[in-house]
Symmetry: D3
Subunit: 334 residues, 6 copies
């Protein structure tokens, strides 16, 4: 079985238990995460072979991060080590009308040491069938951008699928590159676009609205600029408040517009990593099902992620499928 | 005051805190439970005298189980000890569309050593007014079946009430007996049937639907086969998802069909043992109220159990009655 | 910046984690609180200078209480010490139809040692612009009543605003004074009345209903008896159950009746101190906004408090304002 | 089997986990204790029948205290309820050269409501063979003194053994009685004196030193004043620091002076209740062994208590005996 | 690098935090362990390739056990799954003169399903250089004995090293085989004997004392009976109490008797698995050093294990070597 | 009362509970610390007025750090905020022969943004009587060095005492300055030297041994080079292992050599910050006692710090004095 490659920073997440403010706590729970490793682990939980590429600290924190990733069977053989510390983020979990808050400590972390020569792309891609990247990586540091680009160029040559979740976060772009140019450069090397009108407007400098009509137009426009892109998937979150969301998705694959119904997540356990669960669901689904079924699978995976603590989606294919088959009754499995 | 007798395995329940997957935890909370002891403790919390019959391990785990039961004032003098270990079950608590999962370690536990000669039924029943049994006990082991039958035969002779929750779980019947025959044998010695169309179809090999009409027909049919049975109570659970259920109940007492309205349990704290809380509510209620009021009391008790952590219903008669009187406002008691 | 003065008992709150019954726990979380200090800390979190007057125990518990209050920047220089222990309350947190329960250990606590001569009112009021008191303080002990009255008399002379939340709790009035007389005495020295028909009926011995019409009539009647009172604010709580409430407010300021819309608190994290958050919101709001906007601010602050663990409202002005501006989407702040 | 009676206040103990200062914690562990109930529970763990007499709060805290005591099989049928709160003590656990600290909240607790007419001494003593009291009880409140004296007078008449641990704590004597007189009054009704030179000096206003010679003289003098006293046992603690103690004991029984060797407690887990474990060991031992063996048993029980968390000695007779037989090797029992 | 093979049951260990009695807890910490997997993980932590053979439950508990083992890089590809539950042991941790206690729930666990045909010994041994077994495995069940013997026969043929820790625990031998015969059978296929006079006396039915002279004689006698055995290593534990041990070792390799000095473990953190750490140290050391240096390495590894919580020795070669070089100063590594 | 000024980085400390390896944990305890703030808080606990100068992150982590410092009454008004994250260190706590390990994440933290113009030295020193600095600050970043030097120059002019703990840690000096030169530069502005032969050898490039004779010679040599230095204090740690240390101190004040006896810390609770407690003890002691008594006070304070969890010394003057007076008996304070 060929591998799926994810590439990006691994962060340690630290948050007080329950809904405590940081100031109320003296104990923190920790998990490891990061948008791309979240995708990687979720795909591994679907039964695929996954290799994650990153650079982590050369201390007991980095050892623990690697051990954490290995638990899920994701290959860590391409994770480099640096004597800078691992990136950390602190999370305060909100509720109802109180939003969650995140504070990052990542800008000089071990991942900032990543360099193209640290990643043996040729060897890696020989055994690979898919690469996934997000807009976080080229935003973090020049090394991230260069290393990613080196991989994508090679991937294009080899005809490997390249999916992107080009999430644009303005605050991250600090090292001197122009976000629009860098993202365009990398999107042009990609085949699956996981994002919506927001991201398209950012990259194309357009002004489409959220309507389905505009989504279709925007998608067509995107494909015109990036002819490599064959499919566009957009997850739509309708929040009632921080504790209760509805999730659905829509797609344009060049021929067809489709939309799922809503999943009603009445009691959110953990909101972090749910977008990554959607991306992972798509990457798995597009290899197994038709486009619409893949999108449904991804939406159900995303919905299910809201019920797991931590960044990672523990759901298996059987568990996602059970939900698609309508089993949301909460019967106890014995 | 005469005693109510419960008979069955005591299990240790072990689960990660909150909604953690087993794989995410390194600490487990423990409680003791088991369908019959849950019923027994709940009835004791209603102020009745209760004696539980069982066989637990002769080690510090068994000591702790007995100590746990004694806390509620349930008599443990008829609990035998065995050098086999206490049965254990592991629980992962789900949320929203993620179901909870249970893994049992009970098939060679101390309860499997139970033998009729270990239980002085004659002495026990002299001071008893009611026995409650469930379909789990005869399913677990031959000793459980034999011991239970010895008690029920004596109970019938003495005119003691016998209630049954004949829950049929296929996976448990492994020691060679035929479930249908065994259950029929024991139901024929019982007077109150706590179960619905599912259980009746299983025992009578019929095909009734869930409609009220079919429930009445099925109940009449059951009473024809088991003329000892005088009343049938059926709890109906309408799940929105694993975190949000509605509960109501219906009954047939030979003369009258009645149905309660729904209790809306919008934020389930713990789903385990809620059926046992219903049975306990009935056993208490049928001694104090008319059939319909007893069923209402049982439904409210069942609803209230969803708000307590662990297997056990802590609700008192006053607390259940307050809910029946419409006090669900969440006012703080000071 | 002039100070806002709060005066009242500081209690230690002790409760099992999650929704555990006391009997299920062997660990208790602790917070410090008390209706007036809750108001004081919340106002300090809005950026005002606050001084709290109280009397706490002269041991490591009292040290910890003072340290807790100092964390929020509230001045503790006017907190006396006594060799009696700090008051304690135990809390069991309910859910859905199970109410929370509180057990107090406060009647001979350090606060009962408070005497007028322990509080340098003249000095304190020189730097003050507002005093807030509640009906709990004069109910607890004669020293509380006397000390409070001494302060209010001086405040009236100096033209300082005096707000009151005259909460009447019958069980507390044990030391021999007549509640109606004492409360009337103190209300006559106050300018802002935070309470509704219940409290007015108690003080005036009237029988108004909850209708808006009666609220207006009752308010007019109250102002007739206590011409010092210029504004009346009434918070209305509509509980679906113990886990789900709706909150709105109404007001009469002598000229105008206004009413807010409901805030829907679908997943209550902690219900204690939410009324205090309303009072704090009003005290802050009335200094910054018009009456209606102040009431809206107070309602949003009250709603937001339901999402924090402990007695204290951590919300800042920006966070409350964001909710008033309609941002209840639960977007993660990064 | 006749009962052993203990009489005294039940307190809730609250302490941060580990060696945390109160100010560092936000979680407290709780246990129930109190010098006399500690003795009672320890004796019950030795297999005796024990009844404890007290007065606890009529709330969920008192319910939990009673449930805690019942777990050990100690009869709680003579425990009265009061609407005052249960006494509480806060504990900071020291280490090495840092002493532990205790802050009490007990002076107006439910036990202060105890009155002679609440205790049916006649009925209780009919089934009793031994009463144990300590100097804490008459120090706390007049009701404690009166109730205790009523019992001791009756006990003397019936020839029941009365042991006393007359611990003198000056800070507790606040309600107006003279400690020396009250203690003398009660010691004159007792038969076994568990205390040393300190206590004798206090009661007789003498000045004996700690030497064995003086101990013998002091004991003779005490017996002269209180001819009812037949045996005196003195536990000697040699602290290296707060984490490491040595324990031995000496005795005078009118004829013979004996002394045990030291038990070396190199790693103290919990120091509270160790004196109570000594008293309990004596009460058990004097009924089963000769005086010296009883004192050895008590010393070993006391030493063993230092290894249990909480106030209570969990040691069984077998476990104490194993230590007396020299088994301190720390072999794991499988 | 060729693999080292360990074979044996994987157990879940459950114990209260700190030194709590089971009866005092409501939370349990869990670890996975078992004498052979402890050895395997420790060797993997020394940098060797290790494969563990076992049979674990086919549920989320078994999944978690496998995930736990994988974290250390030990290959789990030869671990079979069974629908019986995973074995469990409960542990109460003692202190000072209080011994620790273990209660097992393993006799009908998933490991009891092991059968020779489930283990592809030929393939496994092709890539192996060493097998380690203990006396626990043939004691547990016939399947364990048969499977082990199949492997050892093949190992002998291939000239692979076979080390044994023949720990004899009488209580485990319940399935009908004769311990002495079975152990002799398997020892005759082994090359390294990790055990002392006790084990030799058991197998040879001799009566040697603990003196060094007798150890040498016993070793010679053992080698006479089992000419395959080339080296004998004996770990000697001198307990001061349950919290403080001294550890040293001695050896006879056919030519030479040697003895190490004592390691003084003044504050034991966790005693479980320390013998396994000694065996692992030997297996690693004998491949890298001369016999005496290997024994020293093993003793230091064993000593170091007493400082890690759980069953597993986390020590690396560098950390063990640092101790051998005399660095026991507790300097903080920064 | 004039203030004592401390200046340096505030770090968040994160460590698993107990003696767990990072890899074993999923919960971390947190404290705030840093060598200079540790000194500052300890002095504040001795009753002095203290102001700490630093630069912390402008997020909820920095808010929490400031709130933590305020709890001890240390002034935080001169703490700047930066949009870089707060420095973090991870700690694994060792035991016996296992050393503790620390992993830092501080090199691009908020403190690296400190600049001389951010600190109003003139205003601060007007109200100051003492500045304390350590060798960590100039090692971390140029801004730290520059800011510190600006302060020390002014302090020298104003005749304010300047104490230094010039701890040399090679790994920290990365930003291009020469450690020896920088340290010499700053020591020449200081009056009290808290360090020993190691530090003197580093700065003077000498080779003195640890003997008392060499210590005196080295001290004289140091004073020759830095005539501003009037007193030198050297703390000597004699570790038995990581859990058991002995502490004493020696001094040279130009006239007199003195040495304390050893404090025996048989059970270390927390080793971090013990050197800082010594420095704080000196700074307090030199203002209150003669040199020898000050050194004794500092040694006792240092010893006592080993019994508190976290970086901070909670000891008060009374508590330190009690130890100096020989009260190490572990009597419980009631």
């Amino acid at each position: 079985m060929k591998q799926i490659i994810t590439f990006g920073e691994v962060l340690m997440r630290l948050s007080p238990e329950g809904n405590k403010k940081f100031m109320q706590a003296n104990l923190l729970e920790f998990y490891f995460g990061g948008t791309e490793i979240n995708v990687g682990i979720s795909i591994a939980n679907f039964g695929e072979k996954v290799k994650h590429i990153s650079c982590v600290s050369d201390d007991f924190v980095g050892d623990t991060a690697i051990s954490y990733i290995q638990k899920f069977g994701v290959s860590t053989s391409a994770i480099a080590r640096s004597n800078r510390p691992l990136g950390v983020y602190f999370l305060e979990v909100g509720a109802v009308m109180r939003p969650s808050s995140i504070s990052y400590n990542r800008s000089h972390s071990s991942f900032a040491d990543i360099r193209p020569e640290m990643v043996p792309w040729e060897n890696i891609l020989k055994k690979a069938k898919w690469i996934h990247w997000t807009g976080i990586t080229p935003a973090l540091c020049k090394g991230g951008y260069d290393t990613l680009k080196a991989g994508l160029l090679l991937a294009k040559k080899s005809g490997i699928q390249v999916s992107t979740d080009p999430t644009y976060r303005k605050g991250l772009w600090k090292y001197g590159e122009n976000a629009k140019e860098v993202l365009s450069d990398l999107i042009s090397l990609s085949t699956i676009f996981i994002g919506g009108v927001n991201e398209i407007n950012e990259v194309l400098e357009t002004n489409y609205s959220y309507s389905n009509e505009d989504f279709i137009e925007a998608s067509k426009e995107l494909m015109k600029h990036f002819p490599n892109i064959t499919k566009i998937f957009d997850k739509i979150r309708t929040p009632i408040n921080a504790s209760w969301h509805k999730i659905r998705a829509r797609m344009w694959n060049g021929n067809e517009f489709r939309e799922t119904t809503d999943f009603d997540i009445t009691h959110i356990i953990d909101r972090i990593g749910t977008g990554d669960a959607f991306a992972a669901g798509l990457i798995y689904g597009l290899q197994s099902f038709d486009d619409y079924k893949a999108m449904e699978f991804a939406s159900a995976a995303c919905a299910l992620k809201h019920t797991y603590e931590g960044d990672v989606n523990y759901a298996t294919v059987d568990e996602v499928t059970a939900i698609l088959n309508g089993d949301v009754s909460g019967r106890v499995n014995r």
